[in-house]
Amino acid sequence: MPVSILKQRHYLIASVQSALTDTEVLELRDALLAELAKHRSRGIIIDVAALDVIDSFVSRSLTTVARTGTLRGARTVIVGIQPEVAVAMSHFGLGLEAVDTALDLEAGIELLDR
């Protein structure tokens, strides 16, 4: 899976390295939820700057992580959505309403620290 998941303080930080297949998206989702249970993290940051497409499937999977995270007391922030990807998503009606968003990793950590 082209994703690295790091634990930093009480946050989980997942950095996507390249385009993901649907299978890899599900692996990421499951891995994050497993790590969350193990470390009782208070926040999850998923850096999607490397994704040049975020379609309905990816969007749904990210929302699932966020919803499940909320039930376990963790807040999820998606960071690094590229401008053209944001335009395509908003056109498509994929607003990731259930998820927090931030410009990049730094802004994401700042948001969680507040």
Partner: protein
């Protein structure tokens, strides 16, 4: 028709290949990065429909030139079970939990034209087109309908109005070089 790119789709990784090739072709054809992202996203959606519902199929990508407009055409074909009610999946983004409806509904939002031909037991073909934005439309607007006709009397020209209209008509019909 320009170069034609074919991608066999039998698994999720093939969809990734198809959308990458779609993006590359769109950029080569002069689409903006945002438009190329729209096209790649639409391919991702319909590509998923192929391997989840039909098991196997193909995606064909090609440049398009029609009526003086330029664009891209994406054809997704499979020999799967087909769609019972095409209108319903196009109309309703939530018509299928498996994402079929979302895929087609979304593709329609992202592309300019989407048509689906589907027959139970025979398979489905989804054809999507997107046109490249063009300044010609603005010039057309500038000329306006009957714009010159209205101006001619004001200028005191002795112009046969039907000929101006005809000239304009021909102007608009003239293929661009």
């Amino acid at each position: 028709m320009s170069e034609e790119i074919r991608v066999t789709v039998a698994a999720d990784a093939d969809t990734v290949v198809a959308r990458q090739k779609g993006r590359e072709l769109a950029l080569r054809l002069g689409f903006t990065r945002t438009d190329a992202t729209f096209i790649a996203t639409a391919i991702s959606e319909i590509g998923r429909n192929i391997w989840t519902h039909a098991g196997e199929g193909e995606i064909v990508l090609c440049g398009l030139s029609e009526d003086g407009r330029e664009g891209i055409i994406v054809i997704a074909r499979d020999k799967g079970p087909g769609i019972a009610d095409v209108d319903a999946v196009m109309r309703d983004q939530l018509s299928s939990d498996k994402g079929l409806g979302m895929g087609l509904w979304g593709a329609r939002k992202l592309m300019d034209e989407v048509t689906i031909v589907s027959e139970r037991g025979k398979g489905t073909t989804v054809t999507m087109k997107k046109w490249r934005g063009f300044a010609f439309d603005e010039v057309r607007q500038l000329l306006g309908e009957g714009g010159a006709e209205q101006r001619a009397p004001r200028l005191g020209l002795r112009i046969d109005v039907s000929n101006v209209a005809e000239a304009l008509e021909q102007l608009e019909d003239t293929p661009r070089r």
